[in-house]
């Protein structure tokens, strides 16, 4: 991008500056630290100049928005056309309570729904399973059968809103219920829009909500990708997730690399089903965290887009540009929220959200300031949504596309993130792929080490967390109105579930469960059999039990 002669001249001038002007200043007041590093431990220079991006070829490395390599954005107009989807993850208590919260959020201007399920549901247990005692409806909504899903989505037109479901192990079952509700609303299947997280690989080393062994889980993930490509064309079958990898303690480079590697693995597993890459790749979506290190984060989003585009083109020979798009959802980082002086979290979340917007996200969730303490209250949820609206409407950050492009620092950092991630990808290829890495505990160890290092830095005050290890106050007095889930919810939910079991046609439900078992044994795509089973009101727990019987249960590999 720069003339060689100019760069040589610049180099000489920089050296002169370093020998004359700079030392005078440093003598008067030394720098705060001997070395500055990003949160991924990459050294940060004092100053970035054209020298650091001298090899950048604008057309090849940046290009134009909506064109390969999509560094500047997947859409040609980005936020000048329309803002990102403001999607707040929510769900608690019974389906009825969450349905009310959804309607409230839609009224407040939210443009998409995002369902949080409770732990029993996530683990494939019905609400009356002994493992779920005390957990029903606490961290999300309890969905045990199609009946609950009907109540949850009551009065919400499924052809008008898109819905994101944070569900992995039982993703096929919850998607089947959603499809069944759509069928009942009379909406044709190709009109159903939304996303299932359905990224089972990261469960084994990050989110750790695993039901079946890895091989069977990837089979289920791939079933959904295949089924959607053939039947639910507007559905994003998977949200390949770095968020949980980061929250489990990985740094930004690891988050980027491991997420993209999981993506590679799913592309390979789907190609093995006989689909062509351009038949499904345009529907793969991604999910990242936005942490504290502002520039590193926005560079990460930009690098992710370019790296994925290159992989799709060069490794998988995609032809359709849409197959090369990395569309992403971003959530601000939950693990950066502090219980101390909780209002400070609004500021943290704002900076993180701005990084996501400047990084070109398609969808965003901003955390509520009280979430280090409990489920967010209504006021906190509103402030979180308003944060996005302020960035969108007031900050001016949305008036031009990819405004930080061309910054010497941002471009150098973007290159470096991509290079470091590519090294990991090579390493994982050499190791024999993601499954081998999981079995060896490679990802687990990498994440545990980063997480420990980060905590040590905080404990040793090498990393300042405002209000926690510096600027503390004697007595925390901010009154937070905690949202508590009434213990009656569990009783009510269990009664509803038992009523479903009593009133359904039990013979039909059993027949469908037997059919599913047979289908699993024959290694068919299970989506059709699961849809039939949920329509017969077979419960989530019953369906998951059938598959537990066929596939076995995962036993955690513990890596400290």
């Amino acid at each position: 991008m720069f003339d060689k002669k100019k760069i040589d001249e610049l180099k000489k001038e920089r050296e002169r500056w370093e020998q004359t002007t700079l030392p005078n200043w440093i003598r008067q007041s030394s720098e705060r630290k001997n070395e500055f590093r990003s949160s991924s431990n990459m050294p940060i220079k004092r100053l970035y100049t054209p020298e650091d991006v001298k090899d950048l070829d604008y057309l090849q490395d940046l290009g134009f928005p909506g064109e390969y390599p999509f560094l500047r954005g997947v859409h040609a107009t980005m936020y000048r056309g329309r803002f990102w989807t403001m999607r707040q993850f929510s769900g608690f208590g019974t389906a009825e309570q969450t349905n009310k919260r959804f309607k409230y959020l839609l009224k407040e201007g939210e443009t998409g729904l995002s369902i949080a399920f409770d732990y029993p549901t996530i683990m494939g247990y019905d609400s009356d399973h002994p493992m779920g005692k005390g957990e029903v409806g606490i961290c999300g909504v309890a969905i045990s059968s199609l009946k609950d899903m009907q109540v949850l989505l009551n009065g919400i037109p499924l052809d008008k809103v898109t819905t994101s479901m944070t569900i992995n192990g039982p993703a096929a079952m919850l998607l089947a219920m959603y499809v069944a509700v759509g069928d009942k609303q009379g909406i044709s299947r190709e009109k159903l829009g939304g996303t299932t997280q359905n990224d089972n690989l990261k469960e084994y080393f990050a989110q750790k909500l695993c039901i079946y062994p890895p091989k069977s889980s990837v089979k289920l993930t791939t079933d959904i990708i295949e089924y959607c490509a053939r039947n639910l064309q507007r559905w994003n079958p998977i949200s390949i997730s770095g968020y949980h990898i980061r929250e489990a303690g990985a740094n930004a480079v690891q988050e980027l690399a491991f997420t993209i590697y999981d993506g590679i693995t799913y592309v390979e597993s789907t190609l093995q089903r006989g689909l062509k890459v351009d038949e499904f790749a345009h529907r793969l979506s991604f999910f990242f965290a936005s942490h504290n290190d502002f520039f590193e984060e926005l560079a990460k989003f930009r690098a992710a887009r370019r790296l994925w585009a290159k992989l799709m083109k060069e490794r998988f020979h995609a032809k359709n540009p849409r197959s090369m798009w990395m569309r992403m959802h971003v959530q601000t980082s939950g693990c950066t929220l502090t219980a101390q002086q909780p209002l400070n979290n609004i500021t943290r979340t704002t900076i993180q959200a701005l990084a996501a917007v400047l990084g070109g996200t398609q969808s965003l969730h901003t955390n509520s300031f009280d979430e280090a303490l409990a489920l967010p209250g209504e006021e906190a949820v509103r402030v979180a949504l308003r944060t996005q609206q302020i960035i969108a409407h007031e900050s001016g950050a949305t008036n031009t596309i990819d405004p930080l492009a061309g910054s010497y620092y941002v471009e150098a950092l973007t290159n470096e993130m991509e290079e470091k991630a590519t090294e990991y990808i090579q390493k994982l290829d050499d190791m024999g792929g993601a499954m081998v890495a999981i079995e060896k505990g490679f990802f687990q160890k990498e994440i545990a080490d980063s997480s420990y290092k980060y905590q040590k830095e905080i404990d040793e005050r090498k990393r300042t967390i405002v209000g926690v290890n510096n600027y503390q106050i004697e007595k925390e007095e901010y009154p937070i109105k905690l949202l508590r889930v009434d213990p009656k919810v569990e009783k009510e939910q269990v009664a509803n579930l038992q009523n479903v079991r009593k009133t359904r046609d039990n013979r039909k439900a059993e027949e469908m469960l037997d059919k599913l078992e047979l289908s699993a044994e024959k290694d068919e795509n299970l989506m059709p059999a699961i849809i039939e089973a949920v329509k017969a009101y077979a419960t989530l727990g019953e369906i998951c039990s059938v598959l537990r019987k066929v596939y076995g249960e995962y036993k955690e590999l513990i890596v400290i």
Partner: protein
């Protein structure tokens, strides 16, 4: 001279949630501080926790929970420990446990609750200072 017995700690995660970042960091920090640490992984039932505590002859149990089910699970764990005769084991807890629940949890016999923002040194110091005496 007899070798000093290492402090034996069980780090246990009851509940269905899978937020093990804190539990693992604490386990590693206690181990680095010279203790014998047993970490049994996610989703341990109260029965499993009490059983492991007995089998491993631990001095200290650290419970980590972020799912909000502490009010159901902690009483059960403490009851089972009592049943096993493990009344001299020191139990502490961490995770997301709202301030207003702390006194109720302490009444059950849980010595201390460490909230978010606690340093690993504070926990190490607490364990060393409050270690139950063995006969």
């Amino acid at each position: 001279m007899e070798d000093a017995r290492k402090i034996r700690v069980l780090i246990a995660k009851p509940g269905l949630d899978s937020h093990d970042r804190g539990a693992k960091v604490v386990a590693r920090a206690l181990r680095d501080a010279g203790m014998e640490v047993i970490y049994t992984g996610l989703r341990q039932t109260p029965e499993q926790i009490a059983e492991t505590a007995l089998q491993e002859d631990v001095d200290v149990i650290g419970l980590s929970i972020l799912s909000g089910a502490h009010k159901t699970l902690f009483p059960r764990i403490m009851e089972l420990l009592k049943k096993q005769g493990l009344t001299d084991v020191m139990v502490f807890a961490g995770g997301i446990i709202p301030e207003e629940d702390v006194s109720e949890m302490k009444k059950l016999g849980i010595k201390e609750i460490f909230g978010p923002g606690t340093t690993t040194e504070e926990i190490i110091r607490y364990v060393v200072d409050n270690l139950p005496k063995r006969d």
